[in-house]
């Protein structure tokens, strides 16, 4: 066989694609669509949950500050040893 003469390759017949192939591709698209996770919806839900958690931390921190300030009541210094109502 003469390998320099690669023109023999031009004799290869072109083949038509079967009609069913388009439907196979379409069904693959459908399958991909079903398996796709709606990233936008998941993102919105996740940011809502994170927002709620941050709000909770903020308000919990704020209320504990109030409690702490309530505990810091100045004690009145009593200079005698008598009890009350004595």
């Amino acid at each position: 066989m003469e390998l320099d003469n690669l023109d023999i390759l031009k004799n290869i017949k072109r083949i038509e694609v079967s009609d069913s192939l388009y439907h196979t591709i379409e069904s693959r698209f459908e399958k991909n669509r079903e398996n796709n996770i709606p990233i936008l919806k998941v993102g919105i839900a996740a940011s809502f949950v994170i927002g709620l958690m941050l709000a909770q931390f903020y308000f919990l921190g704020f209320s504990s500050e109030i409690n702490q300030s309530n505990n810091e009541i100045e004690l009145v210094e009593v200079n005698n040893n008598s009890l009350y109502y004595e």
Partner: protein
Amino acid sequence: MTFKNIYNQYKNLVFNLALQYCQNRQDAEEITQDVFVKIFDKWQTFRKDADLKTWIYRITINQSLDFLKYKQRKKRSFIISLFSSDSSYKENRLPDFDHPGILMEQDESLKILMQKIYRLPKNQKTVIILLKIEDLSQREVAEIMKLTEGAVESLFQRAKTSLKKIL
């Protein structure tokens, strides 16, 4: 341009190009499916000023080469399975030569030549397929392969030498 239009315009180009790489109708159909799914997925990233045909050629070539790599891996695992007791591996037997465009010709020398091309390194194989089977010009091949025309010519000469060496 709708997806259906692109499909109708390029389906035969994609299928026949894939067929030259894998030399099997069933595999070529699988590659064609993968190529059009990829075209659909990547349509947003395609620069509209670029040449659609060149882009489709590139996707098909890459997909075909990936498929051959995957097939080689399967073949290796099959060979390993021959030495193992696990019979489930034996179901991975690869399909035989089934290129309808060559079988129709009933030309044994053409079949032998195609089987030799199959064994070439991927760049040399691509050059032969694009220049000699797809009948593209050297400039078009250079654009598809992102090479200079000189590099394409040198690859082609190397491919011819490699073909002579393959017994």
